[in-house]
């Protein structure tokens, strides 16, 4: 009997090692796949898969940026309102010149992310508190900019539409952006000094600082990248919707956090991979898609996302405790 449990334990540890700690995420994904295979086989139609990944890609793009921030041991919960603000800036400009507008959208994301990073490193206000505050600031500014119009972009613009709905080599552009950024970041994390310093800083800020690492620079860069990707996600999302409202980015903070966490990015920093984030993206997308097809709708998805965050963090904590 004891031998049996010992064996199971060994198999478990072996699997956990081979999957680089993503076992729990894989298990959740497997459960979802089995449920959909049995009850909602429609999920597996190619058309649906393509649609699904295109529709939910903005969340994945935000999560790729946010994962970097979380790896440094910080958090940014203002990503949702950065999205809203970026498109609010765009509202007036679209009718003047579309390419210029797109530049402005990206610049807004870049600037707000940079501002978050600078404020966090200068004021030493914990990033959770600071970005809760900034989230309100950005959301408020967005409403002021569009004079509290609920819906401020109502037309379909050609270039935006193309980016949101087009494909490269049969891959939807939003999905392409998501996968490309995740892989590029993964490469950076593994192969560059900057990437190694991100992990070290996330794991132990003070030791990193005392090893000569410019931890402020690292944080500012990660926040800036996160802001930029939030703006990219906003652009693609509004292109898909053909509109933008003051609620555009609502909920994307939670979505991005749940994707990162499901992908094995530890909220205490220094642990996780962007490949894991991609896995989290697939899992969350599948879950939302299943709910949609099953007719349970968005509100159930939102509820489940919250449950998943807590469940995954709990399970990872449990397995970590077992290990030590």
């Amino acid at each position: 009997m004891r031998k049996g449990t010992g064996q199971i334990k060994r198999v478990y540890q072996d699997l956990a090692e081979k999957t680089q700690g993503l076992l729990i995420s894989f298990l959740i994904l497997a459960v979802l796949l089995i449920i959909s295979a049995v009850f909602i086989p429609k999920v597996f139609q190619l058309k649906n898969l393509e649609n699904m990944l295109r529709t939910y890609a903005p969340g994945g793009i935000v999560a790729a940026g946010l994962s970097l921030v979380i790896l440094t041991g910080e958090i940014d919960v203002s990503v949702g309102t950065i999205m809203t603000l970026s498109m609010a800036v765009a509202a007036k400009l679209y009718d003047i010149n579309e390419p210029l507008t797109i530049v402005a959208i990206l610049a807004t994301g870049l600037f707000t992310g940079f501002l978050n990073g600078i404020l966090i490193t200068r004021t030493k206000v914990p990033s959770l508190m600071l970005t809760i505050g900034m989230s309100s600031v950005y959301g408020g500014l967005a409403s002021i900019l569009v004079k509290a119009q609920k819906k401020y972009i109502t037309e379909v613009y050609s270039l935006t539409n193309l980016l949101a709905k087009g494909s490269i080599l049969g891959i939807p552009i939003p999905l392409f952006v998501c996968v490309f950024s995740a892989i590029a970041f993964e490469f950076m994390l593994r192969k560059t000094a900057f990437g190694k310093r991100i992990y070290y800083t996330g794991m132990n800020k003070r030791a990193s600082w005392m090893s000569g690492v410019n931890i402020n620079r690292i944080k500012v860069i990660c926040f800036t990248v996160c802001g930029l990707l939030s703006a990219v996600a906003a652009l693609l999302l509004s292109g898909q919707l053909g509109s933008a409202t003051v609620q555009l980015g609502d909920g994307y903070d939670v979505t991005a956090i749940s994707i990162s966490v499901l992908g094995g990015i530890s909220l205490s920093g220094g642990v996780g991979t962007l490949v894991g984030t991609l896995l989290g993206f697939v899992t969350i997308s599948l879950m939302q898609n299943m709910m949609a097809i099953a007719g349970l709708g968005n509100y159930v998805s939102i509820t489940l996302k919250g449950v998943m965050i807590i469940l995954v963090v709990f399970l990872y904590g449990l397995s970590a405790r077992k290990r030590t």
Binding site: R190, A193, K196, R197, Y199, Y200, A207, M210, S211, V213
Partner: protein
């Protein structure tokens, strides 16, 4: 001593043994205190003083042995029991709330309340004043604690302990930060206190004070009683006490005769009049190539702060640093490292390592540009080879370069920190307690590495609480007390012995 044991002692600790992680710290201690007696405990660092007191205060539980208090066997398994037995303790750093008033501090957690439930301030004011006057000390109890002098804070701490009417009072290095005059004042108060009956345990590093105040001196050495001096029988002499603390170890010659090689001519780091308020004052010395300079000092001497300031973790306020003749502002560790200074910290968990990351990452983090090989990106193979090299060179016990450092033993973790800086190859190495929590074998290995680095034209500044360790590897030892250099002893001097250094350190 015999004449005192006729009456039952107030406190009798019998055959107390206590170890940590299989390392015995107390190896069977018998220790008594009588009513109205001041007993001093002295011993060098690591002799077991604080462990013994922690057993008495209920912080640690003895592995074996008995404690008798007022003739009854007691089991002090948590601090509340000590409090119930009326054993009071005053620590070296007064643990007062700086922002509260003196009387509020004295009555903290013992506040009087009126019938309506609010604080009875007049009564607390009156009684605080009374307690303090009982000690022969007059002070306005409505001042904020942060506004009163250091010696007053110590006295207020004692007053706070007096409130429980202690039968036994432990004074743990309360004089550490006081000057001569303040100590005299405090001693008058302690003498007055003794008349009132409680037994007093007085712990201090300063032998002169101990000779002055104690009725009995209990000397600890390596976890056993080395001996006792009783004023009624013996004459208390500083010399005898130091001899007993050291045992029959190392007298002159042993260190000064060892060949240490020539110190280089070139000055690497020049410290000129470095000062920081309340930390250190006017520190001046030069560090040469091929030289190891030891810093010696008691707790609170300001040595860690001095090292932090050279490395850029803290900012010095006065004076100047020159690195190879060029000013070093050291506003950040980053700058110090770039200029060729590194620091091996005594706190590897917080400051030295990312515990959850592999050995490899920890060794490489300060020198990542050396891991690129010829390419632009980090060469994984090269990185692993470098880590393996250091694992072999420092004999780090591990399953491999990918093992997380949190799973290594303390000594092996410390070797990873050392590897990080050896790989960085800085010219000046600062080391704060290189061997804290490290076993003897690893200790020797780390010191041998330092000697090797020295031979490679490096300059090393090392602090250790173990004078023996400094004597072993240093060309000279600078002794710092309360932030000031009080002596510098070269290897060829007569007093380059444990006794010589301790005499300077403990009697200044």
């Amino acid at each position: 001593m015999e004449n005192r044991t006729n009456s039952k002692p107030l406190l009798a600790m019998k055959n107390i043994q206590k170890g940590f992680n299989d390392v015995p710290v107390l190896k069977g201690i018998d220790f008594n205190v009588n009513r109205g007696e001041i007993v001093a405990i002295i011993g060098s660092n690591g002799a077991g003083k604080s462990t013994l007191m922690n057993v008495l205060a209920g912080v640690h539980h003895a592995d074996s042995g008995e404690i008798w208090f007022e003739g009854e066997k007691v089991s002090i398994d948590d601090p509340n029991v000590a409090e119930r037995l009326r054993i009071g303790m005053v620590h070296q750093e007064p643990s007062l709330c700086e922002n509260m008033l003196v009387y509020e501090n004295i009555f903290l957690n013992r506040e009087y309340r009126s019938a309506l439930g609010h604080l009875d301030r007049p009564r607390m004011r009156k009684e605080s004043t009374a307690v303090l006057e009982n000690l022969g000390f007059h002070i306005d109890v409505e001042q904020r604690v942060r506004d009163i002098s250091l010696v007053s804070k110590v006295i207020v701490s004692i007053a706070k302990a007096m409130l429980m009417n202690p039968k036994l009072l432990i004074l743990d290095e309360v004089t550490a930060a006081l000057n001569q005059k303040e100590v005299e004042h405090l001693f008058e108060i302690i003498h007055g206190l003794r008349e009132k009956g409680p037994g007093i345990i007085f712990i201090s590093h300063k032998i002169r004070e101990i000779v002055q105040i104690s009725d009995r001196v209990f000397v600890l050495r390596d976890g056993v009683e080395a001996g006792t001096f009783d004023r009624t029988v013996d004459t208390l002499r500083e010399k005898d006490i130091i001899n007993m603390m050291l045992g029959e170890s190392k007298w002159k010659g042993e260190y000064s005769e060892r060949e240490m090689g020539q110190v280089g001519d070139k000055i690497l780091l020049s410290v000129k009049g470095l000062s920081k308020h309340e930390m250190f004052n006017d520190i001046t010395f030069d560090l040469h190539e091929n030289e190891i300079v030891g810093l010696a000092g008691l707790k609170g001497s300001g040595i860690t702060e001095l090292m932090y300031s050279i490395f850029g973790i803290m900012q010095y306020e006065g004076g100047e640093l020159l690195m190879k003749g060029e000013p070093l502002k050291a506003a950040l560790p980053e700058e110090a490292i770039r200029r060729g200074v590194c620091m091996i910290t005594n706190d590897r968990q917080q400051e030295g390592l990312a515990m959850g990351l592999p050995i490899e990452n920890n060794v490489l983090v300060a020198s990542l540009n050396k891991t690129r090989g010829n390419g632009k990106f980090i060469n994984k193979k090269l990185s692993t080879e470098i880590a393996k090299d250091y694992i072999a060179k420092l004999q780090i016990k591990t399953t491999g370069p990918q093992q997380q450092v949190q799973f290594l033993s303390g000594g092996n973790q410390q070797k990873v920190v050392v590897s990080k800086w050896l790989f960085r190859d800085s010219d000046v190495i600062l080391i704060d307690e290189p061997t804290r929590g490290v076993d003897i074998k690893a200790k020797n290995e780390i010191y041998n590495l330092l000697l090797q680095e020295k031979a490679r034209s490096k300059g090393i500044i090392v602090y250790s609480p173990e004078t023996r360790e400094l004597l072993n590897i240093c060309n000279r030892i600078i002794i710092i007390d309360q932030g000031k250099i009080i002596a510098e002893v070269h290897r060829n001097e007569e007093r380059f012995t444990e006794k010589g250094i301790l005499e300077i350190m403990h009697s200044y």
